[in-house]
């Protein structure tokens, strides 16, 4: 991946940089167009910091009309565009292109409407995930998907990545919590999809847009579902002598018909790093830690806490603590939520992976990961959305040691292919971006990928929106459209006919 191949740089565009800046300034006046290299450095990478690229120009529009004009201009002039929210993507989705306009949506930071009666909020794409909850929490409401990056990441980025959080097991991912979108196509055309009602009138374009990583359209307005906060929430912190036991406990909880608000697992290295960082009171003599949160009415939560504790005991738990106050519950989570930065403190660099596996494969995958860790001579810490099988192995490395980044990346690729081998997928919530782009063939055939790319062609036939992301190979749309079956070539099938 370090020798990442990006789409060929268009020299004509590069040579016209000044002129393009001038023309964009006519659309977005004042400070809205940045062309000083030093100022553009703030945008050179996203959360996948191993990759850096100064964009052609940065444009920070303030109105949807400006976005539409910028895109139309780019389209008419064959210039690539990379949308960007807060730049927290961990897969390089917002990585700039040398010959591409970086379209920053940070100025779209307003909550436009809160409609409690219809239980939804209409927001601009640059509003942060947490700001949506903050806008409605005084009425006891919240927006359910809660990525750990929620203070910073934008709802536009969440839409693009179909982001998840620790509460997704019960309340769904971004895609299950969005009702409507306004998008601008690369042609500048503004399209509205959905609204305050449920389900789409024809093809589910909303479902397609969520998780499309900025390749289909620029999101300019979002209508999300808001929910009433549960009456109470309590968490149980359970320590296990082995991750097998912890994994079996998760399976038994689910088999008992209990869908927890959140169910998170950490391994020894992650537990120690987190405890050192935030002093959450985690047990240090266990190999695996499980946090199970139950939410709902008090009677229900108490009842379920007891059942989960019983199940944990049957699975050889060595310590069980039930939160008795909001502060204690928050503290249980503090360690988990800070797991990435905590690991960042015990290693010069870390590389965060994001595969999903069928849960029962956990012991096999962890064992194999330990072997790989020895082979590559790199440590790995694991945090795990245990309820839904989404693994976040954090590979510890030192970028200053020559070759170590490459080694970490190879290790990471091995882990992800392993996830696919056991029936899982390459990415659970961080997206393909540039990071997993070249691994896509591990999961999909060329025909599978071509069917996906034709969707891209349906929205952006010239491939100007965020090219170089998601697909390992970019085919021209004309080539993809060609049919390979011709009249008279295929005999009548030898199958039952009536």
């Amino acid at each position: 991946m370090s020798n990442l191949k990006m789409p060929e740089v268009d020299q004509t565009t590069l040579s016209r940089r000044k002129q393009i800046a001038g023309e964009l300034r006519r659309i977005v006046p004042g400070e809205g167009v940045i062309d000083e290299t030093e100022e553009m450095r703030a945008y050179e990478s996203d959360g996948l910091t191993a990759y850096k690229q100064i964009p052609l120009l940065v444009v920070l529009p303030e109105t949807v009309a400006q976005i539409s004009e910028v895109l139309k201009y780019a389209h008419d002039n064959g210039i690539k565009v990379v949308p960007r929210g807060a730049g927290t993507s961990l897969s390089g989705g917002a990585l700039p292109l040398a010959d591409g306009i970086l379209l920053g949506l940070g100025k779209f930071n307003k909550v436009l409407e809160v409609d409690y009666q219809n239980r939804c909020a209409v927001v601009q794409p640059g509003v942060t995930n947490l700001a949506i909850t903050q806008a409605v929490q005084h009425e006891g409401f919240y927006y359910a998907p809660d990525p750990s990056s929620q203070i910073a990441c934008t709802i536009g980025g969440n839409i693009a990545e179909n982001s998840g959080g620790v509460h997704c097991l019960k309340y769904g991912l971004t895609t299950n919590n969005v009702l409507g979108l306004e998008i601008v196509l690369i042609t500048g055309e503004i399209i509205r999809i959905g609204g305050k009602h449920l389900d789409s009138e024809g093809y589910d374009l909303l479902g397609l847009l969520v998780g499309s990583e900025g390749l289909l359209g620029v999101v300019t307005e979002v209508t999300v579902r808001i929910l009433k906060s549960p009456e109470t929430a309590r968490a149980v912190l359970v320590g296990f002598p082995s991750s097998e036991d912890a994994g079996q406990c998760v399976a038994d909880v689910i088999s008992a018909g209990i869908i927890a608000g959140g169910m998170e697992m950490m391994d020894e290295l992650a537990i120690h790093a987190a405890e050192e960082f935030v002093q959450a009171g985690y047990p240090l003599d266990v190999e695996a830690l499980l946090i199970v949160e139950l939410d709902g009415p008090e009677a229900e939560v108490d009842h379920l806490i007891d059942r989960v504790s019983e199940i944990a005991k049957k699975n050889k738990s060595v310590s069980i603590r039930v939160s008795t106050s909001e502060a204690e519950r928050a503290n249980f989570w503090a360690g988990r939520k800070a797991a990435f930065p905590a690991v960042g403190r015990i290693s010069p660099d870390y590389y965060c992976m994001d595969g999903t596996i069928p849960r029962h494969q956990l012991p096999k995958v962890l064992a194999r990961m330990n072997e790989l860790s020895k082979t590559y001579d790199l440590r790995v810490a694991n945090v795990f959305h245990a309820g839904d099988g989404n693994l976040h192995p954090l590979i510890l490395y030192d970028a200053n040691v020559p070759g170590e980044l490459e080694k970490a990346e190879e290790f990471g690729a091995d882990i992800l292919t392993l996830c696919v081998e056991v029936g899982g997928v390459l990415t659970g919530e961080h997206g393909v971006g540039v990071e997993k782009r070249d691994l896509m063939p591990a999961m999909f055939t060329e025909t599978d990928l071509n069917h996906q790319q034709r969707v891209k062609c349906a929205f952006d036939p010239d491939g100007l929106l965020n090219p170089g992301k998601v697909f390992p190979e970019l085919h021209r749309c004309a080539e993809l459209g060609r049919m390979h079956i011709n009249k008279g070539q295929v005999p009548f099938p030898d199958i039952p006919r009536f």
Binding site: N162, G172, I190, K196, A251, T427, E429, M443, F459, G481
Partner: protein
Amino acid sequence: MSSTLKPEDATQLFDAVKWAVSEEKPLDIHGLGTKRTIGRPSQHEFSLDLSGLTGVTLYEPEELVLSARAATPRAEVEKLLQDKNQEFAFEPPNFAGLLGADSGGTLGGMIASNLAGPRRIKAGAVRDHFLGFSGVSGRGETFKSGGRVVKNVTGYDLPKVIAGSWGTLAVVSDVTLKVLPAAETELTFALEGLSDEQAVAAMSEALQSSCEVSGVAHLPEGVIGAAATVLRIEGIGPSVEYRLDKLAGMLKEAGPSEKLAEESSKELWRCVRDVSFFADGSKRPVWRLSVPPMDGPKVAQAIAAKCDCRWFYDWAGGLIWCEVPEADNGCEETVRAAVAQTTGHATLIRASQAIRAAVDVFQPPAPGLAVLSQNLKSAFDPKGILNPGRMYAEA
């Protein structure tokens, strides 16, 4: 008379579609055919009968996942789930009664129609539980998308567009769905005699509480007798009782009320789900309108002002089922004008062939959306082989 191709496995399915693509022969695609009367009528020389593609291929209750061949009968799968106290959380309707079919159809049909029942407001629609598939596109090529895990953002989410595409983008041979534990018990709180506006306000209030209501419907006077506003609570016993009492306390000013015990509650919600109130042997057209919940009464009344209709609300007012006279093509213009006051949409679920041939059965998309939809159709089915014309005249 059309000729029917009946593949017995995925390979034969592939052969059949590939042949149809090469000969440019459009196919009418069906499983058990229980929803054949939904959509614009079409008569093609060949039909593709998928009912040979059956069988559950994977069911892991503790992983909350089930895979099956596309034409596996729903009844078979639902029995299997029930034995493990699980279910499809989106409560798919069974329109056998409403449409005069002889069963609840297949998994493939359930997915292709993306029709969800009362629990839609809490648990999502079919599309929210459809994890992955493999099938054959109108290019005569086998492809897959998605997977067997819930957390998956690897590539575009094609299961979303396949759900609700009525077989116009790909013929699906294998599907994987998320399943969930069924609630231990349920109760329903019913308010009597509310007007539509009062009902929608009460339903909204219930959903703005932390009572986790899982079904919210209003049956205006005449649907089953006096007007009834019904709110369902599901879960474990003590919690259900507690939340029902809380709800009753909250809504005590709203009017006289009663509690329905588990069995009557189940029966009632089955009727709401299956639109059984309009399954009385009548052939009158039935529309399904999805609108912002608070706009429900306004839309229903706009239709009632011009047509002699019956209606009821599910989804707290957001879903209107409206039965209309045959005249004026099932009040098409009136219904379309009423729904146009909102962002919502209307689909004609039951109507004679003549009416379905004369009007748009599905909501005509706005111009920009229409182009994207047409592009998508061409991307998957460039020669228009798969159920052409079923959703839109030109696609």
